[in-house]
């Protein structure tokens, strides 16, 4: 057990127009998740503290937040990785609704612009079975299938901070997942969206997204591959 202090950026539009900080002293095990600490604050000290959470082990993507200045999932960040003073804020560049909860509607609206669904006009095989795809073709887009839409990447991107109209790394990751799927036929439509002013060219390869991704996706590379497809007109 070690003593830690949690410093949390708070905001409640029903209480006061400005944000404030609350501080909470806790005894914590090194193996506890930051989410466990937030839960203990909520359950034992201050029930008004609000944050999103669900699965608690890094898969659902609910509890993305800024922990000691880096975008992370609270359930995938252990006390042992942090110092004794832990600072927690909502994601940057998104409208805060309450405490650590940000408005995700614009994020999901940007996601929808890249047509994040399978497009194919070819009918499935006449025997009704699966379309064929080799392991190599499947591997081509494997990395971007891991995305959990937590928004850690988009909310870490300087280009997104500069213009919230930028569709952001998460949307491009989703576009990549389909553009490079050998079965999909919608690459043209998606590349058109990605090539617009608020598309991939806003990316200045800061690599923040790749560093922030809790799923370890090489996002900057994926964005680079979409840029290359746009520049060469070839998906390979």
């Amino acid at each position: 057990m070690a003593k830690v202090t949690l410093k949390i950026k708070r905001y409640d539009p029903e209480r006061e127009p400005a944000s404030w900080w609350s501080e909470h002293a806790l005894e914590a095990e090194p193996t506890e998740r930051v989410l466990d600490l937030l839960n203990r604050v909520k359950w034992e000290q201050d029930g008004t503290l609000s944050f999103r959470r669900s699965c608690g082990h890094g898969i659902c993507g609910s509890d993305s937040m800024r922990i000691d200045g880096a975008n992370r999932l609270a359930c995938k960040t252990l006390v042992s990785e942090l110092g004794s003073a832990i600072t927690i804020e909502p994601l940057l560049g998104m409208r805060v609704q309450k405490d650590l909860i940000v408005d995700l509607e614009p994020f999901f609206a940007a996601y929808r612009t890249v047509k994040p669904y399978f497009i194919s006009n070819a009918p499935p095989p006449p025997d009704g079975r699966e379309r064929l795809q080799t392991p190599a073709q499947r591997l081509r887009f494997d990395d971007t299938t891991k995305c959990i839409l937590c928004a850690c990447c988009t909310a870490s991107c300087p280009s997104f901070w500069a213009s919230s109209e930028y569709i952001g790394p998460a949307s491009i990751v989703q576009a990549h997942r389909f553009i490079f799927d050998s079965r999909d036929e919608g690459a043209g439509e998606r590349l058109q969206v990605a090539g617009e002013t608020m598309g991939v060219w806003r990316c200045h390869t800061a690599f923040n997204c790749t560093l922030a991704c809790p799923r370890g996706i090489n996002i900057t590379q994926a964005i680079g591959e979409v840029k290359r497809a746009l520049a060469t007109g070839r998906v390979e």
Binding site: C60, G61, F118, K146
Partner: protein
Amino acid sequence: MTHHHQFDAVIVGAGGAGLMAALQAARLTNVAVISKMYPTRSHTGTAQGGIAAPLGNMEEDHWEWYMYDTVKGGDYLVDQDAAEILARESVEAIYELEHMGLPFDRTEEGRIEQRRFGGHTRDYGKGPVMRSCKSADRTGHMILQTLYQNCIKHNVRFFNEFFVADVLVHDGVARGVVAVEIATGELHLFHAKAVLLASGGFGRMFAVTSNAHSLTGEPVAALYRRGLPLEDMEFFQFHPTGIYKMGILLSEAARGEGGVLLNGRGERFLENYAPTLMDLAPRDMLSRFIYQEVAAGRGVDGKDYVYLDIRPETINRYGSAPGGRTVTAAELEEKLPDIIEMMRVYMGVEPMREPVPIQPTAHYAMGGIPTDNDGRVLAGPAHTVSGLFAAGECACVSVHGANRLGTNSLVDLVVFGRRGGKALGEFCRRADYAPLPPQAEAEAQGALAELRASRGRERVGTLRSELQRVMMDKVGVFRKAAGMREALSTVRALKERYTQIGLDDRGGTFNTDLLEAFELGALLDLAEVTAASALQRTESRGAQYRDDFPERDDTHWLKHTLAYCSEGASVRPTRGEVRFEAKPVVVTRFEPKPRTY
């Protein structure tokens, strides 16, 4: 103020079952999906290992074998007409998912790759079979993503971050739901021709669980409070391999790829318990065997855990044993990337060099809202509620009987989500809107206002952890009458204390204090039904093991439990006793036999 909406079909829950149902129903009628979270946060996304279907892409397989495994896995409490549907329709459901774009792993021939999974066998139990279709160890994630993507494609209407406070069922007819918009705290009244519940499980009644914080079962409790029965609630699956103390799931796929369980002496103890399937025996049995080793003093360091070992040298040491295989570290990293990362992140263990401490974790409710094979909710052993449907973990068809096989939750979601969605859509084309009762939302509104204003001295967090502890200790893997009676009286005392809680947050905006209080009320009701159902079933079967009744008793207990509240028709936690009725088990092809592996 209350917002009013009218949709032909309202679906509650946006996991695998809800989204599959939405896609089907949206072809026939107008649909709204209400979800407590953004759909991509749903717990389907955490399913790891795979989804079964006898495609025969790797080796010979047949739906009859799969059906048999499901029935035997469920300790013969499975309704065999439903199991036949599951086994047969799994094939077309998997192909449908592939056609929707789901990126399954592939064989060299380009077909869907399959692997072994617990309890799935060839030729009626002769040995393991490769039946589980997968995307590495994030199969559920890919299913959830693919279904949500297709809902976007087809413009399905979502109400995200709304929780359901009441399901409006009057005079045996469903009429809609009352929901709270979490962002504002405002009430929304949805008038519908039909409602389909797909709200998932409620494993948060247990202290050590793989279940998400959000799995608290409000819609299930809402039906129970309205006087409808819940089926087979005594059967709750404990998955054998949860991360020690945390309960985070480490998929059976780890054992499907060759991993083994070892006791504190480094022995592969399952040789003594399940000589044919060993580490791929069904979950109910493995969880018991682990605790039997622990009770015999053979846990690690005398403690209450054993090891899951996926070191390549360990797997290869058993490579020539039945069902054994040969692997490299690189192959394991490719096939099990997520769970290997979880072992590293949460346990600080390097699984290629050391074994991982595991213990059973509360995982899956076999029981729930009784339905027929098209998702129609039953009001009793033989009649249905007009316009009310359920699918997925919240429902009980029953294809899982007393114990679910690994992969079968995902199969259940897509097969019965699909059937339920079709039946829902067809119902809406024929039916008219049944009128809402006057002030349909008033009761929920009153209960929520009272909760929000509550200033008692009991805290939600305290009551919830006491509930989770007593359920884990007394209504877990091993049960006996005295312990279950104690659990029941504790739960009832907690319900009493629940009337004395106090909230900190009285606001409207994202009042998650209020939401958690409301969720606790549902958990208390469902825990009471679980404990009472377990106590009345005086036998051991599947996930229910009783020290005082250690044998399966087909003469008296080859039947489903239906549990009702003796005083019904409220939106608040129940106050009456639990009353029971029996429902026969459908037996078609496979007569009950002793269950060995």
